[in-house]
C-alpha cells in the first residue's frame, strides 16, 4: 500500500506570515498539534507545532542543568508569551521538515515516524508541492483495517 492511498488530501496549512497567536487559534480550532507551513506555490517551508511554542517560552538550558522542579511559575513565561504572540510563524517553526513522496510505502512512512520522532509527515508530488498529509493515526488505521481490528 502506498501513502497516497491513505493520506488526507485536504491539507490545512499556515502561511509563514501568520501570527503565532492566530496559528495557535487554528491548531485549537481543528484539534491538531501541528500544521505545515506553505508558500504561495504550495511548497513546504516549515512545520509549526505546539512543541515550538513550549520551546519558545521555556528556558533552553533545561536539559543542561539536570533535574529540578519549578514550584512557582517564573514571571518570564508571561513575558515571553507576550513577546511571541505577534511574531510570525516563520520565527518559531521547524525549518528542516521531513517529507515523503506520494509513492512511499506505508511501512517506510511508519519507519520514518518512529525513527525521526515525528507525528505528521507532508506528502509531496513530483514538483515538490504538498498534495497531502499523513499522520500516525492514518498509518495505524490502515494497518488495523488490514488486520480487521476495525471496519470502515
Amino acid at each position: 500500500m502506498k501513502v497516497k492511498e491513505i493520506m488526507k488530501k485536504e491539507v490545512v496549512s499556515l502561511s509563514k506570515d501568520t501570527k503565532i497567536k492566530d496559528a495557535f487559534g487554528k491548531l485549537l480550532q481543528i484539534h491538531i498539534s501541528g500544521l505545515p507551513v506553505l508558500d504561495e506555490n504550495l511548497r513546504i517551508v516549515g512545520m509549526f507545532t505546539e512543541k515550538d511554542i513550549l520551546r519558545a517560552i521555556l528556558p533552553g538550558y533545561l536539559e543542561k542543568v539536570g533535574r529540578f522542579i519549578y514550584e512557582e511559575n517564573p514571571k518570564i513565561i508571561q513575558k515571553k508569551l507576550l513577546d511571541i504572540q505577534d511574531l510570525t510563524v516563520e520565527k518559531l517553526m521547524r525549518k528542516d521538515v521531513i517529507t515523503v513522496d506520494e509513492d512511499t510505502t506505508l511501512c517506510e512512512v511508519a519507519r520514518i515516524m518512529l525513527t525521526q520522532n515525528v507525528r505528521r509527515i507532508p506528502v509531496l508530488d513530483k514538483e515538490k508541492r504538498v498534495i497531502g498529509i499523513v499522520a500516525r493515526e492514518d498509518i495505524i488505521k490502515a494497518y488495523a483495517k488490514e488486520a480487521r481490528w476495525i471496519t470502515d
Binding site: 538550558y61 543542561k64 542543568v65 539536570g66 529540578f68 519549578y70 514550584e71 512557582e72 518570564i76
Partner: protein, 464 residues
C-alpha cells in the same frame, strides 16, 4: 560553500603560508615545517572555523603520520590519554551531580540567604562561581550559574547582563584555583608534576586575592545596576515566594550525589600524600581517583552507565584535545619547541624573571583571542625545553596557568565559559553584548588580575 567560508579558507592558507615563511627564517628543516604548519592550522582553525576544528584535527594527524613527521608510537604517547581519562572520569561524576538536582540546590542556597541584598548577591555569585569552577569544570559551572542568575534576576525584574558578566569573570578566575577547574590545570599538573596540594597552597590563595579584587572592581563598575537590584529586592521583600521558586528533586538523591562528589574531591586532595605512602609515581592517584569513583558510580547506576558515557562526556571537545596534544607533542618530537625556547630565552636575556613575565603576558594576551587549551598545549613543550637551558620551571608553570585563565576574561571570546554564557543570554533574553562593551570591563579585570599575579610571581619566594 558560501563566500564567507571560502574567504576564511583563503585566510587560513595565507596564515599557514606566513608560518612557513617564518619557519624558513628560523631555518627549520622540512619535517619541522610540516609539524609547525599542521599545529598552526589547528590553532587558526579554532579561531576561524570553530565547528570544523575536530575535522581539521583529524586531517592534521593523518598528514603527520603519512609524512612520517611522527611515528605511531610517539603520537600515542603525546596524545596524553591520562589527561583525557581524568576529564572523562570527572565528567561522569558531574553527570551524576546534575541528575541528582545539584542545580536546584545551588539556586536554593543563593535565594535562602538571610537578608539577601544586592551587594550580598554579587558577592555570593562571584564566590560560588569561582568555587564551583574550582570543583567542576568551568563550562558546567557557568551553565549552572547563568541559569541560576537568569531565574533569580527574572524574579526581581532586573536585567541579568551585569550579573552574568560578573559570574563569567569570577568563573575564569576561579578555574585557576585547583587542578579540576580548567582543562589546562590538569594538563599542566600532568606535565609538570605539580600536585593538587601545590595548587591549593600556591594557586588557590592567589586566585582568592584576585577574586576579591574583581569583586571590588565589578561593584564599582556596575554600581547603578547593583543599586537597582537592591531597590527591587526590597520591593519584592523577603524571599517567601522566591524560596519556593525552584526545588530539589528527591532530597536523598542529592545527598548521595553530593556525598560521592565530595569524597572524590577529598581523595583527590590527598593524592600526593597517598602516592608517597604507597610509593606510587607522581600524580598516579590524581589521575586514577576520578576513574575509581566514576567506575563505582557506573556499577551502582549500571542502567544509566551508558548514558553517563555517551551524554555527559563531551567527546567532541575531548577528541579535539587528544589530537591537539598529539600535534603539540610532535612539535617537541621534531625539536621545533627547543628552537622557540632558545629564542624566547634570548629575548628574556636569559633572566628567569624576564622569562616568567614573557610567558605570563604572552599567554594572557594570547588566550584573550585563542582557546587557552590550544595555547597551553603549544607552550608546554616549550617550557619543558627551558629545563635543558637551566631554568627553574615552577614559576613558568604558574605563569602559564594564570595567564591562560585570566587572559580569557579580556575579550568575550576569550574562554569557553564566556562563549557559553553569552550564548545562553542571547538565546534566552535576546541580549547581545557587543565586543567593546565586554572589552571595557574585561580589560580592566583581565589586566589588573594578571598584574597582581605578575607581582606575586616576581616577588613572592613561594613561586620561585
Amino acid at each position: 560553500m558560501d563566500n564567507r567560508l571560502i574567504f576564511k579558507f583563503i585566510i587560513l592558507f595565507f596564515l599557514i603560508f606566513l608560518v612557513n615563511i617564518i619557519s624558513l627564517g628560523l631555518s627549520l628543516n622540512s619535517t619541522q615545517i610540516i609539524a609547525l604548519s599542521i599545529f598552526s592550522a589547528s590553532v587558526f582553525a579554532t579561531l576561524l572555523f570553530w565547528d570544523f576544528r575536530v575535522a581539521i584535527a583529524f586531517l592534521g594527524i593523518a598528514l603527520l603520520l603519512i609524512t612520517k613527521t611522527v611515528d605511531l608510537e610517539n603520537l600515542i604517547r603525546f596524545a596524553s590519554l591520562e589527561v583525557i581519562l581524568f576529564l572523562v572520569g570527572m565528567m561522569v561524576l558531574v553527570g551524576l551531580l546534575k541528575e541528582s538536582g545539584f542545580f536546584a540546590w545551588l539556586v536554593t542556597i543563593i535565594i535562602r540567604m538571610r537578608n539577601l541584598n544586592a551587594r550580598k548577591f554579587v558577592f555570593l555569585i562571584s564566590i560560588i562561581s569561582a568555587l564551583l569552577a574550582c570543583c567542576v569544570d568551568e563550562v558546567t559551572s557557568i551553565v549552572f550559574m547563568v541559569a541560576a542568575i537568569l531565574e533569580i534576576c527574572d524574579y526581581f525584574e532586573v536585567e541579568p547582563t551585569p550579573y552574568i558578566i560578573i559570574s563569567v569573570l569570577s568563573t575564569n578566575i576561579g578555574s585557576t584555583g585547583t587542578v579540576l577547574g580548567n582543562p589546562i590545570g590538569i594538563l599542566i599538573a600532568s606535565k609538570s608534576g605539580l600536585t593538587f596540594e601545590d595548587f591549593i597552597l600556591k594557586a588557590f590563595p592567589l586566585m582568592i586575592i584576585c577574586l576579591l579584587l574583581t569583586i571590588l572592581l565589578v561593584n564599582l563598575w556596575y554600581f547603578k545596576s547593583v543599586k537597582e537590584l537592591d531597590r527591587n529586592m526590597q520591593r519584592f521583600a523577603a524571599n517567601e515566594m522566591l524560596i519556593k521558586l525552584i526545588s530539589v528533586p528527591p532530597e536523598r538523591q542529592l545527598k548521595i550525589g553530593l556525598g560521592v562528589f565530595i569524597i572524590t574531591l577529598f581523595f583527590i586532595s590527598l593524592h600526593h600524600r597517598l602516592e608517597l605512602l604507597w610509593k606510587l609515581e607522581n600524580n598516579t592517584l590524581l589521575l586514577s581517583i576520578p576513574l575509581i569513583f566514576a567506575g563505582i558510580v557506573m556499577i551502582w547506576k549500571w542502567k544509566r552507565a551508558r548514558q553517563y558515557i555517551e551524554k555527559d562526556v563531551d567527546w567532541w571537545t575531548l577528541l579535539f584535545f587528544l589530537l591537539l596534544f598529539a600535534k603539540a607533542g610532535t612539535l617537541k618530537y621534531t625539536a621545533v619547541t627547543g628552537i622557540f625556547a632558545k629564542k624566547i630565552a634570548s629575548l628574556a636575556k636569559s633572566h628567569p624573571l624576564g622569562l616568567t613575565s614573557i610567558i605570563l603576558w604572552t599567554t594572557a594576551l594570547g588566550s584573550s583571542i585563542l582557546d587557552n587549551v590550544v595555547l597551553v598545549a603549544a607552550f608546554i613543550p616549550v617550557i619543558q625545553s627551558f629545563k635543558e637551558l637551566g631554568f627553574v620551571l615552577q614559576p613558568l608553570w604558574w605563569a602559564l596557568l594564570f595567564g591562560g585563565c585570566f587572559g580569557g576574561n579580556i575579550t568575550l571570546i576569550g574562554s569557553t565559559a564566556n562563549i557559553v554564557a553569552l550564548g545562553i543570554l542571547e538565546k534566552e533574553r535576546k541580549i547581545k553584548i557587543s565586543f567593546f562593551k565586554w572589552l571595557k570591563i574585561g580589560l580592566i579585570v583581565g589586566l589588573l588580575t594578571t598584574f597582581l599575579v605578575w607581582l606575586a610571581l616576581i616577588w613572592h619566594p613561594l613561586y620561585h
